[in-house]
């Protein structure tokens, strides 16, 4: 498939200017690559590049609505391959390059692009389209007083193992105060790839989010534990929460308990709430893997999704009020966008308040990181209304 580039009335694309260069030799390509950051973003058009000998090169991505493989064209007389893709403003697109030599096919991150994105299935290259900027509150701020991370081990009878939990205590934490609790699935990944500690420090400092105690959960076998597992839910509700409410000064009311997760972690969050209705006052469900079938059994997700589909189908058949407030988000380029959109009226039909947010992004940690302010400030709003300096 070829993706036509829209011609700008005022300035031609860099790749088109290169095409007309004479002589168009290796040295010209060297200079071109040295001058440009790849992908080259010119307004809404992004030029993806690959340099090297190959029989065929494709851009591999999972943007909903585009073919998974988009072929690059070889620039005549060179070993430079290119593809111009139009991307809406503010988009972030994860991609890899598929390079074919005869029968040998290799899928690699873009060697010309240092930017990486992280998802539950590994890394990929990422293109920041025109208008996307990493939010300032995701970067370390020296003015923000840092909270503290404390590692705990919780003996779980339900899971039959010692479960590591990393607890975030906000700056100025006092034993004589009371804090709401946030439980986070895939804790280490949220800390490492979604800058969760930095984000919490910044959002608490800016008064956007209330001072909160956060428990980051370490999964062992996430695809099993997070796929509507009874034992995981029992661990959360009957073991972890009671222990944290004894050890830390927590408000210990449903309105001050929230469970958060992305992808399969969102399924685990929903599952815990379904198994303990009224225990958690709010849920944060990001890019939930809420795959379901309306008819037939072919959900297309493979074996690991079987218990998820069974769970979601059952919930959709009889939606129940399990929490008061749900924050949901999903990237519009994710294959999960349709299931997530479909869950909004399902949850609302059970009388729950849903705040649903979409972004021009994919199924990755940066998308979930960038939604944290919307999510946390809605679930646990900060004391901005109290401050008049």
């Amino acid at each position: 498939m070829s993706v036509p580039a829209t011609r700008s009335p005022t300035r031609r694309l860099a790749i088109n200017r290169l095409r007309e260069r004479k002589p168009l030799d290796a040295a010209a390509v060297d200079r071109f690559l040295a001058r440009h950051e790849v992908p080259i973003v010119e307004g809404s058009r992004c030029t993806f590049l690959y340099r090297g000998e190959a029989d065929h090169v494709s851009l591999a991505q999972r943007v909903e609505g585009l073919p998974e493989l988009l072929p690059l064209r070889r620039l005549r007389g060179t070993d430079l391959w290119y593809l111009v893709l139009e991307l809406p403003e503010g988009s972030r697109v994860n991609y890899q390059l598929e390079v074919r030599h005869g029968d040998h096919v290799e899928r690699i991150n873009d060697p010309l692009n240092e930017k990486l994105s992280y998802s539950p299935v590994g890394t990929s290259s990422v293109c920041f389209a025109h208008g996307y900027e990493s939010p300032g509150w995701t970067m370390p701020n020296p003015d923000a007083r840092p909270g503290e991370l404390v590692d705990l081990t919780v003996r779980s009878k339900a899971l039959r193992r010692d479960v590591p939990v990393t607890v975030y205590l906000p700056a100025r934490f006092r034993r004589t105060a009371s804090y709401p609790l946030l439980l986070v699935h895939d804790g280490p990944d949220f800390l490492q790839y979604a800058a969760a500690k930095t984000v919490l420090d910044n959002l608490i400092h800016s008064l956007d989010v209330a001072e909160t105690v956060v428990a980051f959960l370490h999964p062992q076998d996430r695809l099993a534990e997070y796929a509507n597992s009874t034992t995981h839910s029992r661990f959360l509700t009957s073991e972890l929460v009671p222990k944290l409410e004894v050890e830390y000064p927590l408000v210990a009311k449903p309105s001050a308990r929230c469970v958060m997760g992305s992808s399969f972690g969102a399924v685990a969050s929903l599952s815990a709430a379904v198994r303990a209705p009224g225990t958690y006052g709010s849920l944060i469900l990001m890019s939930g893997s809420f795959v379901f079938t309306d008819i037939g059994g072919d959900h297309g997700g493979g074996e690991v999704f079987d218990p998820v589909v069974k769970f979601v189908n059952k919930y959709r058949a009889r939606p129940r009020h399990i929490t008061d407030r749900l924050f949901m988000s999903c990237g519009v380029y994710e294959p999960l966008i349709v299931p997530n959109r479909s869950m909004v009226p399902t949850f609302e039909s059970a009388g729950m308040t849903v705040r649903y947010v979409e972004a021009r992004d994919g199924h990755n940690w940066e998308n979930w990181r960038d939604r944290l302010r919307d999510a946390l400030s809605w679930v646990y709003p900060g004391p901005q209304k109290f401050y008049y300096e």
Partner: protein, 308 residues
């Protein structure tokens, strides 16, 4: 009212210096920076303006000391806070619907004006009732708490109250800075500051709000959407008949006349007074703002008090 009260806007553009210039250069000036919470002692800039006369009452530090040394009281106060939070949650739920109803009626353009005007009056009256009931319940909760725990008889609190009384007794004036208005008012009440205030009172932002009868919290531009303007509780009542609105233009949708009309009429006969950057209001002896103070009128406009 027999105190000389000056209300200032936020001190991003400092306006305190000319106000304190006429004070006795040798007599102490008490300061309250409890709204700054753990930054309470970081008052070097304020001390400099006051030229060595400052006596910081250290009310936040005293409150922390009470929590450290009187655990029983600290626990009781946490329980009291939890009860107040429940009251507030119920109130905000009621208020949200009442305000949205008033805004919807206020924006109505297709009905005969006499119908929509009457409905608008009713909608505002509902908000006033919700506010009044909430304030009454908060007042009753505080009274029950103070009756049950009698802070004046608890040694640690009584000791701090006495020290605060002595410091205020030496002071010719008190300066109350801004910050967290809820925590500021908590300690002003706990350490019984109001009866011992000196004749000259100067306050800005949250400090000005704390002096009023009702604490009105407002912020239309929080990240999770519009936060409704709410009545939080009672202030010291040193300033009567005014609702100070610091940072008003930064925090409220002043370009929405319906919202501003609801705001003005909701708190009437008290007048909503603008305390933006650089504002300096010397209240008259009967507690009224000067004629050039900017106030919110019943039709949602901002105008000079003398013309309102």
């Amino acid at each position: 009212m027999n105190r000389a009260v000056t209300l200032l806007g936020p001190q991003r553009r400092p306006s305190l210096e000319p106000v304190v210039r006429d004070l006795d250069p040798h007599a102490p000036v008490a300061t309250v920076t409890a709204g700054w919470l753990e930054r309470e002692p970081d008052d070097a800039e304020l001390r400099e303006i006051l030229g060595g006369r400052a006596l910081n009452l250290g009310l936040h530090g005293r409150w922390l000391d009470v929590h450290e040394r009187d655990r029983e009281y600290a626990h009781a106060e946490r329980e009291h806070d939890a009860a107040l939070a429940e009251l507030r949650g119920i109130y905000l739920g009621q208020l949200d619907h009442a305000l949205l109803a008033a805004y919807a009626v206020g924006h109505e353009r297709e009905t005969r004006p006499r119908f929509s005007a009457a409905a608008f009056d009713d909608a505002i009256e509902v908000i006033r009732i919700v506010d009044q009931q909430h304030l009454a319940r908060v007042r009753a909760a505080h009274r029950a708490f103070y009756d049950a725990w009698r802070p004046q008889e608890r040694p640690v609190i009584a000791h701090h109250r006495e020290e605060v009384r002595q410091l205020l007794g030496q002071a010719q004036a008190v300066v109350v800075a801004g910050g967290h208005v809820g925590e500021l008012v908590r300690v002003l009440h706990l350490f019984h500051v109001e009866p011992h205030l000196p004749q000259v009172v100067i306050a800005w932002s949250a400090g000005a709000m704390a002096l009023s009868e009702r604490l009105v919290l407002f912020h239309d531009f929080v990240p999770h959407g519009v936060a409704q303007t709410e009545v939080f509780g009672e202030g010291l009542g040193v300033v009567r008949g005014l609702v100070p609105l610091p940072h008003m233009r930064r925090r409220l949708r002043v370009d929405d006349p319906v919202r501003m009309t609801v705001m003005a009429r909701r708190f009437a006969p008290a007048r909503c007074v603008v305390l933006d950057d650089g504002v300096r209001l010397f209240l008259t002896r009967d507690g009224q703002p000067p004629a050039d103070a900017r106030v919110l009128t019943d039709d949602g406009q901002i105008t000079e008090a003398g013309a309102a």
